[in-house]
């Protein structure tokens, strides 16, 4: 049976996945509208490339469709699972850009040529994105999840497969590094307190 999409707003993610696995395409639409925008947002911030971010979003959702019949309720939140898949896909792409194998890839800073230039010419939002691009990718991921996607530290720990203490430490380092980067252009950005 296919339910109208607008009647599914109070369904849980698990209910929707089960309905999709039973052949209800409107459940797939509801899941997409609920989660794909957030996955796209994270991927865009991590990759800074709209086209690649769309590819990652499509791939993450495809993996969700495939795993739907085997989804085990209570083991993970769908959103957490999707963020984890998307962040791993983004990490793979970032490392491929650098031409470094996955295992030996160090946490190096993004040396994108325009990162520095954008700081002095663009608005605060662009400056923030550019400053975040200079951070090591795991710091960038943690900052994005915490301050842009507004997730709690335990969920971030699940997504990044690290402890909550490690998340707090990562966030503290990331905020210090971000503030230092933004500080260079403090006056240009209008922070003149």
């Amino acid at each position: 049976m296919t339910m109208a999409f607008d009647l599914m707003t109070d369904w849980t993610d698990e209910d929707l996945l089960e309905a999709y696995a039973d052949g209800d395409q409107s459940a797939a639409r509801a899941l997409m509208m609920r989660h794909a925008p957030r996955v796209l947002s994270l991927a865009t911030r991590l990759l800074r490339d709209g086209s690649e971010a769309e590819d990652v979003t499509q791939e993450a959702m495809l993996r969700l469709w495939k795993i739907a019949p085997d989804w085990r309720n209570g083991e993970a939140k769908v959103s957490t699972w999707l963020y984890r898949v998307a962040s791993n896909l983004c990490t793979d792409r970032l490392r491929k850009r650098r031409g470094v194998g996955l295992d030996e890839a160090p946490e190096i800073q993004d040396e994108t040529p325009d990162a520095e230039a954008q700081l002095i010419t663009a608005d605060r939002g662009t400056a923030l994105r550019a400053a975040m691009a200079t951070l090591p990718e795991r710091q960038r991921l943690a900052l994005s999840l915490r301050h842009l996607e507004e997730l709690g530290n335990p969920e971030i720990a699940d997504i990044m497969d690290i402890s909550v203490d490690a998340v707090e430490s990562l966030l503290a380092r990331a905020r210090r590094a971000l503030a230092a980067e933004m500080e260079k252009h403090r006056e240009a950005l209008g922070f003149t307190s």
């Binding site: 999709y20 997409m32 794909a36 605060r124 923030l128």
Partner: protein, 124 residues
């Protein structure tokens, strides 16, 4: 020297950035839903496996040899064979003599109510 960028400043930047989430394009939504339909169509509906019938241990032991009917037949043949082996053909019933061709008895002597078929049963 200017004051450092404060946590409050950073939080304000993050709050502004949250408003700048990218929009989903129609093409992306169509692709995602096409994937969902494709995956669903390729998923075969597997009928539930038949529930195995519970069998006793004697049946499970007999199964490789052909089951109860075959073993029962074999057992009967074995009993007859032992009987014949010990007692010899002299003590076999008249039917045995007839089969072995040792007696002039014919099937019509058994009184099986086959009188009407005498003609068919007689030789010649």
């Amino acid at each position: 020297m200017a004051n450092k960028l404060t946590d409050k400043d950073l939080d304000a930047l993050f709050a502004a950035e949250r408003e700048q989430a990218p929009d989903m394009s129609m093409r992306l939504m169509e692709n995602i839903l096409a994937d969902a339909a494709h995956v669903a169509s390729g998923r075969q509906i597997v009928p539930p496996a038949p529930v195995p019938v519970r069998t006793g241990w004697i049946q499970r032991i007999m199964e490789p040899f052909g089951g109860v009917p075959v073993l029962a037949g074999g057992l009967a043949a074995m009993v007859i064979g032992i009987y014949v082996g010990y007692s010899g053909t002299d003590t076999l019933p008249v039917v045995g003599d007839y089969v072995a061709g040792l007696s002039g008895t014919s099937l019509t002597d058994f009184g099986l109510g086959l009188d009407s078929f005498d003609m068919l049963l007689e030789e010649g």
